[in-house]
C-alpha cells in the first residue's frame, strides 16, 4: 500500500480481511498473553498441543488419530495415577500446585483434589513433567481434534490446487519407508505367488527357490 493512499486494482471476490494495524496488534497481544498464561500454568498441555498441531500441519496426520490418542492417553494416565480418577484429575494442576503451593494450604476438610495437589507440590521436577504430560495430553489432543476440524475445510480447498506447497496429501514417513522395504523383500521373494507343487519345489531348491 502506498504512503499517500492506495488503490487496489485487482478484482477479487475474496480479499484479505480489512484490518487496521492497531486491531491486529491488539489481537496478537491478547493471544500471546493468553498463550503465555496457559503455558505457565499448563506447560504439558502446551507442549502436547504444539506437537500435535505440528504433526497435523506438517505430516498431515488425520484428525481421527488424535481422538484415538486422546482416548489412549486418558486410559494410560488414569492407570498411571493408580486407577484413581481424583489423582489423575489433579495432575493437570500440578504446575499450579507447585507454583502456588502456599495458596493451597491443607485444611481438614480439603477436598481430595486439593490434597493431591499438595502432594504434587512436593514432588520433584521430573515427576511434575510426568504428571503434566499424562494429565494434559488428552485435553491437548482433543483440542487438536477441534483445531483440525476447523482447519480441514480450508486445507481441503487449498489442497485442490496442484503443487507441493498446496497439497493436503500426507507425505511419506518413516513407517511408509519401512513398509516399502518390507514389501520389496516379500515381492522379490515371490511371497504373493501361489506356492508351486511339491516336485517342482523340490527340484528348484538348488536355485534358491524360496517356496521350497
Amino acid at each position: 500500500m502506498g504512503l499517500f493512499g492506495s488503490t487496489d486494482n485487482t478484482e477479487h471476490e475474496r480479499k484479505p480481511a480489512d484490518r487496521s494495524p492497531t486491531n491486529t496488534l491488539q489481537r496478537a497481544t491478547v493471544i500471546a498473553a493468553a498463550a503465555l498464561v496457559v503455558t505457565c500454568l499448563f506447560p504439558g498441555y502446551t507442549a502436547v498441543l504444539i506437537a500435535a498441531i505440528g504433526a497435523y500441519e506438517v505430516r498431515r496426520v488425520r484428525r481421527w488419530w488424535f481422538g484415538v490418542w486422546a482416548a489412549v492417553t486418558s486410559v494410560i494416565g488414569w492407570a498411571l495415577a493408580g486407577a484413581s480418577l481424583t489423582q489423575w484429575m489433579a495432575w493437570p494442576l500440578s504446575q499450579i500446585g507447585h507454583t502456588f503451593a502456599w495458596i493451597l494450604a491443607p485444611a481438614p476438610e480439603a477436598n481430595p483434589i486439593v490434597m493431591s495437589i499438595n502432594e504434587i507440590a512436593e514432588s520433584s521436577l521430573l515427576s511434575l513433567v510426568w504428571m503434566q504430560l499424562w494429565g494434559c495430553a488428552p485435553a491437548a489432543l482433543l483440542t487438536t481434534v477441534i483445531f483440525a476440524s476447523w482447519r480441514s475445510h480450508s486445507r481441503n480447498i487449498r489442497g485442490q490446487i496442484e503443487g507441493p506447497e498446496h497439497t493436503n496429501r500426507r507425505p511419506v514417513g518413516i513407517l511408509d519407508r519401512r513398509r516399502r522395504d518390507r514389501e520389496r523383500h516379500r515381492i522379490a521373494a515371490g511371497h504373493y505367488l501361489t506356492p508351486p507343487p511339491e516336485p517342482a519345489a523340490a527340484a528348484a531348491t538348488h536355485d534358491g527357490n524360496p517356496h521350497a
Binding site: 500500500m1 502506498g2 504512503l3 499517500f4 493512499g5 492506495s6 488503490t7 487496489d8 486494482n9 485487482t10 477479487h12 475474496r14 480479499k15 484479505p16 487449498r158 489442497g159 485442490q160 490446487i161 496442484e162 503443487g163 507441493p164 498446496h166 497439497t167 493436503n168 496429501r169 500426507r170 511419506v172 511408509d176 519407508r177 519401512r178 513398509r179 516399502r180 522395504d181 518390507r182 514389501e183 520389496r184 516379500r186 515381492i187 522379490a188 521373494a189 515371490g190 511371497h191 504373493y192 505367488l193 501361489t194 508351486p196 516336485p199 517342482a200 527340484a203 528348484a204 538348488h206 536355485d207 534358491g208 527357490n209
Partner: protein, 663 residues
C-alpha cells in the same frame, strides 16, 4: 497376505504398498519403455514369469539383443516350472560354436522352420512380407508372392517337398519333409518348375483335396500348368517384372539359406521333435521358447526372421481360433482350452522395420481372444515412430492397455507418455499481484498478493518431464517408473486412490519377482547341473509322450490344420448331381524320362552352404511320380519307444552316455 485372485506384482507404491493388477485384466499389450539399464528386461521377465507360474502360460520370446544371462534366466524359469525349454539362436558373429548357458538348455541349437506349415499362399506372404518394401515395389511383391505360392503348391501336389532317407544301420527308408526354403529355391528354376508342373495329375491333386471331382481336378491341374508355363515365358524376358521378382526372391531365399548368421540346418524342422520349435505345440503345452536374434550383428536377418515368427504366430492364432469356435469352453469370456501364451519382444525398436511392425500390429489386433498376451519393451518410442509414415507407433499404442515407463531421456517420448495418460482438469495456482498507485504517482509499485486463485486447466495426468526425472540407480537398485493402465479404467494411481488433486499419478519402485540372485552361475554346483540335465531329459520324454497321445489336444490341433474336405463320394448326391459337364481337355502325359536314381542321402541332411539346385532331385520325384497316389510319401509319425527322442527311425538306438541321446 496371499492374494486370492492371481495378480501380477510390479513393485511398491508411494506409501510402500504392493502395486499389482489382476492377471485376467492383462490380456492386451503391455509396453515397457526405458533407456538402457533401467530395468525393462527385468520387469518384462518378471511379468512373464508370474503369469507362467500362476496361469501355466507358455512363453514365446523374441530377444533382439540377446545375452547369456537372459538365456540362463529363461532356462531357469522353465526348469522351476517343469516346462520344456527350446532356444533358437544365431551363430556368433566372431565365429565359434554353440555354448550352453544353462544345463536345462538343449545341448545344441534348436530347429525352426517358420514356413513348415500352411498352404502356399500363406507361406508366400509370410516370406515376402517379412522383407521391407515400399509402395513402389508393390508390383514386384505381387509377382513374387504369386510365383512363390505356385512353387510351393506344386511341390505339395507332386510331393517334391518330401525326401526319402535311408537308415544306414537298418537300411530302412523313411520319408522326411524337406526344408521349405530349399524347396522354393530349387523350384525358382523355371525349368524345374515347369517339369514339376507337368508331373501333376488329377489323382495327386485329389489326394490333397478329396472333395474335388475328376473334372475339377483336371481343370485345376491344367490351370496350374498353364500358369507355370506363362511365368516361365515371362521370366525369359529379362526386363519383365516377373523376371525381377523371381531374381529378388531367389536372392532373399538364398541369402537366408546360405547365411552364416544361422547355424547350419537350424532353419529347418529337423528330425528330433525335442529340438524342433513348433509354435502351436508351444502354446498347447506351455513351453518356453526363446529366439535370440542379434539385430546388432545381423540386422536384416534378425528383422526378417522376427517378422516371420510373428506371422507364423498369426497363422497359428487363426488355427487356434478355428478350433476354439468348435470346442465347447465354459468359464470366463475368452476362455481357451489351452493356457495363454506370453509373447515377449525385447528391444522392439532394434529390429523395427515396416514388415515387422505390420506383423506385430497384426498380432496385437487378433490375439487377445485366443490367449496371446504380448509384453513388449523398447528403449525409445522414436525407433518405432520412425518406421514408414510414422503411424505404426500410434497403432501400437492404440492396441496397448498398459504403458510402463522407466527413466527416459527424450522429451518427445516423455510427451508421448503424458499423452497416453489422458487429460484431466487440474487447478493451477496463479499468483496475483497488487498494484498500487496514488494521485501523484509517487512511490508506486507492485507486491505479491496473499490470495491464491486456482485456474482450471486441461492437463495430462502425468505431466511432461515426469519420466525424465525418474530415478534409476545401480547402487541401491532403485528403478522408478510410472504406469498408466486402461483396464478396468484409465488411471495412473494404483495404491492410494482415488485419483484427485495432487494425486493424478504415482511413482512406483520396480521390484522384479523371482529373479535369480546377483552373480547367478547355473554351472557352479556339479550335482545341481546333473540334476537339471536329468530334468531336461524328463521334459523331453514328456514331449514325446504328448505327441504320441492321439487323444491330446495337440494331436487334434495338428489334425485340424491338416484337415481335408470330404471325398467326393461322401458328399450327398443332391450337391453333386448338378455337376458341370466335363470339358473336353486333352491332357498330355509327361514324358517318361528314364534316369538313374540318385545316391541315397546320409542320415544327416546336407549343410546349408552346400545346397544347390540338384537336377537329380527331380529325377527321384519323377520316379516317385510313377507310383500310385496311395504310395506317395506321408509325414513320419512320432515314435514313442524307450528313447522317444532318438531320430525318427523305426529301429531304436542303444543308449549312450551323452546329452544328445535325450534329445
Amino acid at each position: 497376505m496371499k492374494r486370492h485372485e492371481p495378480e501380477v506384482l510390479l513393485g511398491t507404491g508411494t506409501y510402500g504398498h504392493p502395486v499389482s493388477k489382476p492377471m485376467n485384466l492383462m490380456k492386451k499389450n503391455v509396453l515397457i519403455v526405458g533407456t538402457t539399464r533401467t530395468g525393462k528386461t527385468r520387469l518384462a521377465n518378471s511379468i512373464a514369469r508370474q503369469q507362467s507360474h500362476e496361469l501355466g502360460c507358455g512363453q514365446l520370446i523374441l530377444n533382439f539383443k540377446p545375452e547369456p544371462g537372459f538365456v540362463a534366466e529363461k532356462a531357469r524359469d522353465a526348469h522351476r516350472m517343469g516346462r520344456s525349454f527350446l532356444h533358437f539362436t544365431m551363430a556368433p558373429k566372431g565365429g565359434g560354436g554353440f555354448v550352453r548357458s544353462h544345463p536345462y538348455e538343449p545341448p545344441v541349437p534348436c530347429n525352426y522352420d517358420p514356413l513348415d506349415r500352411s498352404n502356399g499362399a500363406t507361406r508366400a506372404r509370410m516370406l515376402i512380407d517379412s522383407v521391407a518394401h515400399d509402395d513402389a515395389s508393390d508390383v514386384y511383391r505381387r509377382n513374387a508372392i504369386e510365383v512363390t505360392a505356385l512353387a510351393w503348391d506344386i511341390a505339395a501336389i507332386t510331393g517334391y517337398d518330401y525326401q526319402t532317407m535311408r537308415n544306414p544301420d537298418t537300411g530302412q527308408a523313411t520319408v522326411r519333409r524337406r526344408r521349405s526354403l530349399q524347396v522354393l529355391l530349387e523350384l525358382l528354376d523355371m525349368n524345374l518348375l515347369e517339369q514339376q508342373a507337368q508331373l501333376m495329375n488329377p489323382e495327386l491333386l485329389q489326394r490333397l483335396h478329396p472333395h474335388l471331382g475328376t473334372a475339377e481336378a483336371e481343370s485345376k491341374v491344367a490351370e496350374l500348368r498353364s500358369r507355370a508355363l506363362s511365368i516361365k515365358e515371362d521370366s525369359n524376358h529379362r526386363a519383365s517384372v516377373m523376371s525381377s521378382a523371381i531374381a529378388d526372391t531367389r536372392s532373399i531365399v538364398s541369402s537366408f539359406l546360405n547365411s552364416s548368421a544361422f547355424y547350419p540346418q537350424s532353419l529347418a524342422s529337423g528330425n528330433r521333435p525335442a529340438l524342433r520349435i513348433d509354435i502351436m505345440r508351444a502354446i498347447v503345452r506351455g513351453e518356453i521358447v526363446l529366439f535370440s536374434l542379434s539385430a546388432a550383428d545381423y540386422q536384416q536377418e534378425a528383422a526378417m526372421l522376427g517378422s516371420m515368427i510373428l506371422l507364423d504366430l498369426q497363422n497359428t492364432v487363426s488355427t487356434l481360433r478355428e478350433y476354439q469356435s468348435h470346442a465347447k469352453v465354459s468359464g470366463q469370456p475368452d476362455a481357451t482350452p489351452w493356457p495363454p501364451l506370453i509373447v515377449q519382444i525385447e528391444e522392439l525398436g532394434t529390429a523395427a522395420n515396416p514388415a515387422s511392425a505390420k506383423a506385430l500390429i497384426g498380432l496385437l489386433n487378433k490375439s487377445a481372444d485366443v490367449g496371446i498376451r504380448p509384453v513388449t519393451s523398447t528403449q525409445s518410442l522414436s525407433d518405432i515412430r520412425g518406421i514408414g509414415d510414422g503411424t505404426y507407433l500410434q497403432r501400437v499404442i492404440a492396441l496397448t492397455d498398459d504403458l510402463i515407463s522407466l527413466q527416459l531421456g527424450e522429451s518427445v517420448d516423455d510427451e508421448e507418455i503424458s499423452r497416453f495418460s489422458g487429460s484431466v482438469t487440474k487447478k493451477i495456482a496463479t499468483a496475483e499481484t497488487e498494484v498500487s498507485n496514488n494521485r501523484w504517482s509517487l512511490f508506486t509499485g507492485a507486491r505479491q498478493a496473499r490470495t491464491v486463485r486456482p485456474k482450471d486447466t486441461e492437463m495430462p495426468r502425468i505431466p511432461v518431464g515426469t519420466v525424465q526425472s525418474l530415478r534409476s540407480s545401480d547402487e541401491d537398485d532403485v528403478r522408478e517408473m510410472v504406469w498408466t493402465s486402461k483396464t478396468p479404467a484409465l488411471r495412473s494411481v494404483h495404491t492410494h486412490g482415488p485419483e484427485g488433486p495432487n494425486n493424478w499419478h504415482e511413482t512406483i519402485e520396480m521390484v522384479p519377482v523371482g529373479e535369480p540372485p546377483l552373480g547367478y552361475d547355473p554351472f557352479e554346483d556339479p550335482d545341481s547341473v546333473a540334476e537339471t540335465a536329468a530334468a531336461a531329459a524328463q521334459a523331453a520324454r514328456a514331449l514325446g509322450n504328448d505327441m504320441a497321445d492321439a487323444t491330446s489336444m495337440l494331436h487334434k490341433l495338428h489334425q485340424l490344420s491338416n484337415t481335408k474336405l470330404k471325398s467326393i463320394g461322401d458328399i450327398p448326391t443332391h450337391f453333386t448331381e448338378l455337376e458341370e459337364p466335363i470339358l473336353d481337355v486333352s491332357i498330355t502325359d509327361p514324358a517318361d524320362i528314364d534316369v538313374p536314381l540318385p545316391p541315397e542321402p546320409d542320415a544327416e541332411p546336407e549343410p546349408a552352404h552346400k545346397s544347390e539346385v540338384i537336377p537329380e532331385a527331380n529325377k527321384s520325384h519323377t520316379t516317385s511320380q510313377k507310383r500310385s497316389p496311395s504310395t506317395l510319401p506321408t509325414p513320419p509319425a512320432p515314435t514313442s519307444e524307450s528313447n522317444p527322442f532318438a531320430r525318427s527311425t523305426p529301429a531304436p538306438r542303444p543308449p549312450v552316455a551323452d546329452d544328445m541321446d535325450d534329445f
